[in-house]
């Protein structure tokens, strides 16, 4: 190697690489906008397919009526309107919100642990929520003032409790990435074991409900769930986005260098845990455990758009939303009128996709 002096390059020496970087940024922005548009189109298309006949004009008329707060009245067959407004639309919107939230939580958790295998599932949140839902189904129903919301509420509280445990363990050990992952995995096993233990004493009917819950499904999702989960995501996304550059430092430079760049790593990790846990716990509490979206959404996104979190965070959410929306549509249509829970379909769609990623990607990405 030639080791002659490196001095003497004049300031302003241009090789065009700054321009190339800028152009890559525009491309990524275009990809995000394009995929958002695609998501809207797909959502509209899948909302009008199903057992009951509905049409695009009816859908558009209803959306216009709702968006204009009833100012423009839709002239739609009431049967169609009911199907669209109370079955299809909340389901489609929830698929988007849930998929987006889970992938969003996944990308944050992967960033703060620098571990591509981490998702809301690995960190114990899902298992804790499942355990909470199980005991609510087993022991609680009918005794609570919270009534209808008793199961999701208990699930949510257990998920938060699990996160607090993980968080405090990590905090005791200086907010390190390793502690977080190991504690999360340990708690995941613990909660799974406790759920299994509870199932021993369950009646047939309770058992069916618990099992159904652990598969994750969008059946019977109403606008209330959409509103709560949607609000959580709408608050969390901009907050995380404002720290996107710091996530870049944390993932690609490590803790020490990030701190030497002036970043408060412990604070950033704390914020990311809170945001990702709340957002994923809210979704899981309503839908049940939907695995894999939180893992695969960020990977698909990273593959297409790179690892700059300014683009990766929103794009992961879009990819997760698209994935869950398509999976749920497949689940609704494949063996119609039987609806397969989306949690199952996601695994069937996602695993081959994931294996393909592993095989096609350069090896060090997953090593």
């Amino acid at each position: 190697m030639d080791i002659a002096t490196t001095a003497g390059l004049a300031r302003g020496h241009s090789s065009g690489i700054a321009n190339r970087y800028r152009q890559a940024g525009y491309w990524r922005l275009a990809i995000i906008l394009g995929s958002l548009l695609a998501l809207v189109v797909v959502a509209g298309s899948v909302a009008i397919v199903g057992i009951a006949e509905t049409g695009l004009t009816a859908l558009l008329a209803i959306v216009v009526e709702k968006v204009s707060f009833g100012y423009i009245v839709a002239d739609v067959d009431p049967q169609q309107a009911r199907v669209l407004l109370h079955l299809r639309l909340p389901r489609v919107v929830m698929a988007i919100v849930a998929g987006g939230s889970l992938a969003f939580a996944g990308v944050l958790m992967q960033a703060i642990t620098r571990n591509p295998l981490v998702s809301p599932y690995t960190i114990g949140v899902s298992s804790a929520a499942a355990f909470g839902a199980s005991i609510a189904i087993m022991f609680g129903v009918g005794f609570s003032a919270a009534g209808l919301y008793f199961v999701p509420l208990t699930a949510f509280l257990f998920a938060l409790g699990c996160a607090v445990l993980v968080f405090s363990m990590a905090w005791l050990r200086g907010m390190g990435a390793q502690t977080m992952v190991l504690t999360g995995i340990a708690l995941m096993y613990l909660f799974s074991a406790m759920t299994a233990a509870v199932q021993f004493v369950a009646t047939q009917e309770q058992l069916a409900r618990v099992v159904h819950w652990t598969f994750g499904s969008l059946n019977g999702i109403g606008w209330d769930a959409v509103a709560v989960a949607g609000m959580a995501l709408l608050v969390a996304l901009p907050l995380a986005q404002s720290k996107a550059w710091q996530f870049n430092a944390l993932t690609s430079a490590g803790d020490d260098v990030s701190r030497s760049l002036g970043i408060n790593v412990a604070l950033l990790r704390g914020l990311a845990v809170v945001l990702s846990v709340v957002v994923s716990a809210v979704v899981i509490s309503f839908t049940g455990v939907i695995g894999f979206v939180g893992l695969i959404g960020p990977h698909v996104a990273r593959l297409m758009i790179g690892s700059d979190h300014r683009y990766l965070i929103p794009f992961s959410a879009i990819c997760g939303a698209m994935l869950l929306l398509l999976a749920d549509t497949v689940g609704r249509m494949a063996f119609s009128p039987t609806v397969i829970p989306v949690g199952i379909v996601v695994a069937f769609v996602g695993v081959p996709l994931f294996l393909h990623l592993i095989l096609s990607r350069r090896s060090e990405y997953f090593s």
Partner: protein
């Protein structure tokens, strides 16, 4: 000679085990200090303390007369930059993106045109322009080390702290890395603290050496006075021949004591 960066009676310990004991050293602007000593002597701990990553149990680090712990993290990041030994590769960013992180303490939410220009210039200077859009994971160890140096230089600080920047490099890359550091130190008046194992490179590229053994300063000064056959034998437990080959100091270990 005014002291720009000074380590003032710094001690550090894990529990009851002392790692550093009353270490003091003062550097003027543009000075390169080679930090040497056997494994476990406390070099990395001193590096972390100067960076503000660890707090000393007693003593302080002064930058231009101010305790570095009184600076905000961002203000400190504008004054002191860090070149680590290695970088995580779990989510490989591109070379350009990695280098651009060095601009973090100078920018808001996104890099400005000036930030991009600084990075572009540095990548050219460190001969990385052809790799600019490759992921870090596809680079050789030497190229990766140059990227981390470029990232630290992009911070445009007046202190540079390097933790064994050459230990994983071939001799060509070792020389290249240290030459860039010494050129930058001359050009911009950057003060550098380099923890380094290779005695020959340390002697050659440092203005002075600080020899640590079991957390205590056992030698400080130019290389001829710090690294004698006696001190090397006492500290490293190795008998060495020290000589000059075409003005380059050479240390040839021949026997363990």
């Amino acid at each position: 000679m005014s002291d720009y960066l000074s380590v003032d009676k710094v001690s550090f310990g894990y529990g009851s085990r002392p790692v550093l004991r009353e270490v003091s050293v003062a550097l003027s602007k543009g000075h390169i200090l080679g930090l040497i000593g056997p494994n476990g002597a406390g070099k990395s701990t001193l590096v972390r303390i100067v960076l503000g990553l660890s707090s000393p149990s007693s003593g302080r680090v002064l930058l231009d007369g101010k305790d570095i712990r009184d600076l905000t993290p961002k203000a400190r990041a504008r004054r002191i930059a860090y070149v680590p030994q290695s970088s995580p590769l779990s989510f490989p960013a591109t070379v350009f993106e990695t280098c651009l992180l060095g601009r973090t303490p100078h920018m808001g939410a996104s890099p400005s045109a000036n930030d991009l220009a600084v990075v572009e210039e540095l990548l050219c200077r460190l001969r990385l322009e052809d790799f600019a859009f490759r992921p870090m994971s596809e680079l050789s160890g030497g190229e990766r080390q140059r990227v981390m140096l470029a990232r630290a230089l992009a911070q445009e600080t007046d202190v540079l702290v390097l933790d064994e920047p050459t230990s994983a490099l071939d001799i060509g890359n070792q020389l290249f890395t240290l030459r860039v550091v010494s050129e930058i130190a001359r050009e911009r008046g950057v003060t550098a603290l380099v923890a380094i194992h290779d005695l020959s490179l340390a002697a050659r590229f440092s203005d002075s050496l600080l020899l640590l053994d079991k957390g205590v300063v056992v030698g400080h000064g130019n290389w001829q006075s710090t690294l004698t056959e006696t001190t090397v034998r006492d500290v490293y437990g190795v008998n060495v021949e020290i000589g000059l080959l075409r003005d380059i100091p050479v240390f040839a270990p021949h026997e363990l004591t």
